[in-house]
Assembly symmetry: C2
Homo-oligomer: 177 residues x 2
C-alpha cells in the first residue's frame, strides 16, 4: 500500500500514531488502551482485503440488517476506499471497525457503512478511523467529501468538520413513486 | 452497450420512447419537439464516450466553475454511469444534457453534475434524463439512489420521487476545521 509509505510518515510529535511494517503490509497503529489490565493495540488498514464473514459479524454486533454476501463483495470491490480497524488476539485478527467510500477518484467521495464494535465504542476509535479516511481522500485531492448521517450521529460528524446542508444543499434519497 | 438491448425494449404504449440502433450504437430517442418549425430529435446515451470539451462548453452554458480537464477525465472514467443527451445538427453531435453517478455497483449510488443546456430547459428533458438514470441504476439492483440538491432544484427532484432527509438522515459535507 504505497499510500501509507508516502503519506503516513511516522510523526515524531505524537506517540499515538506510528507507521509499522508487519509481514510486508503497512498497518497503522492508531490507538492503544488498557482494557482490564491488558494493553490492546488497534491497527488501521486501508485495502479491500477483508474477510466478509468478519464484516458480517461486525455489522451484526450493531444490529444492522444482514445483506447478501455476494452483494457486499461487489460493493467492497467497487469502493474507492475500504478502511478497517482490528487488533490481534491469539494471533488472530479481530475486526472491530469499518468504513468505506465510493468516489469518482477525482472530485467527489461519499462515505458509507461507518461502524465500530459496541465493545470498542466511546474510546475515540470512530474519530481516528474517520480522520484517517478523510486524510486518505484529501491525499487523493478529493475536495467534496460527503456522507449521509443518521440523526444520532450528526454531532459526531460535526466534530470532525462535517456540515449539514451547506448553502442549503439537501441530501435526497430516491423512493419508487 | 448491452443495457439498452436488455432493458430498453421498445415500448408500444408510448411513441416518445423508441429504441433505435444507429451505427451499431444504441441510442435512445427520448424526446422530439418542434423548434422554430423544425423537429429536433433528442437522443440519450449511457456510456463514457463523451467529448470533454463539449462537456466543458455545456457546463459553461449554465455558469459552472471550470474544472481541470484532466480531473474531469478521471471522474468520467471512474463514474459508474455517464448519461448524456444530444441531437444532430449538420451531422454533428451537439451535447445538451449530462448526468453521472458514482456507485459501489451494488447497494448505493450518488448522482452528480446534472445539467441541461439553457436553450433546452423547461422542455421535460431533465425529467427524461433523470428517469433513465434511475431506471439504469434500478436495473443494476442499486437500492439506495442519492444526490445532493441545490435549494432551487429540490422541487424538481421531489417530482421524480426523491425525498429530503428521510427518517432524519442528513446530507453532510466535510470542510477543513
Amino acid at each position: 500500500m504505497t499510500f501509507w509509505k508516502s503519506f503516513f510518515k511516522p510523526k515524531t510529535h505524537t506517540e499515538k500514531i506510528q507507521n509499522i511494517n508487519k509481514n510486508k503490509k503497512n498497518f497503522l497503529l492508531i490507538h492503544n488502551f488498557n482494557n482490564n489490565g491488558e494493553i490492546i493495540n488497534i491497527y488501521l488498514n486501508i485495502n479491500n482485503n477483508i474477510n466478509l464473514y468478519d464484516l458480517e459479524k461486525l455489522c451484526d454486533s450493531v444490529g444492522w440488517v444482514r445483506r447478501p454476501i455476494k452483494k457486499v463483495k461487489i460493493a467492497i470491490n467497487n469502493s474507492f476506499l475500504i478502511a478497517h480497524l482490528f487488533y490481534y488476539c491469539n494471533n488472530q485478527k479481530k475486526l472491530i471497525g469499518f468504513a468505506r467510500a465510493t468516489s469518482d477518484h477525482s472530485f467527489n467521495a461519499t462515505i458509507w457503512d461507518v461502524v465500530i464494535h459496541p465493545n470498542f465504542q466511546s474510546k475515540g476509535l470512530g474519530k481516528e478511523l474517520m480522520t484517517q479516511v478523510i486524510k486518505y481522500l484529501r491525499f487523493y485531492d478529493i475536495s467534496t467529501i460527503t456522507l449521509f448521517a443518521d440523526p444520532h450521529v450528526t454531532k459526531f460528524y460535526k466534530h470532525l468538520g462535517f456540515v449539514i446542508d451547506p448553502d442549503g444543499v439537501k441530501g435526497m434519497f430516491w423512493y419508487p413513486l
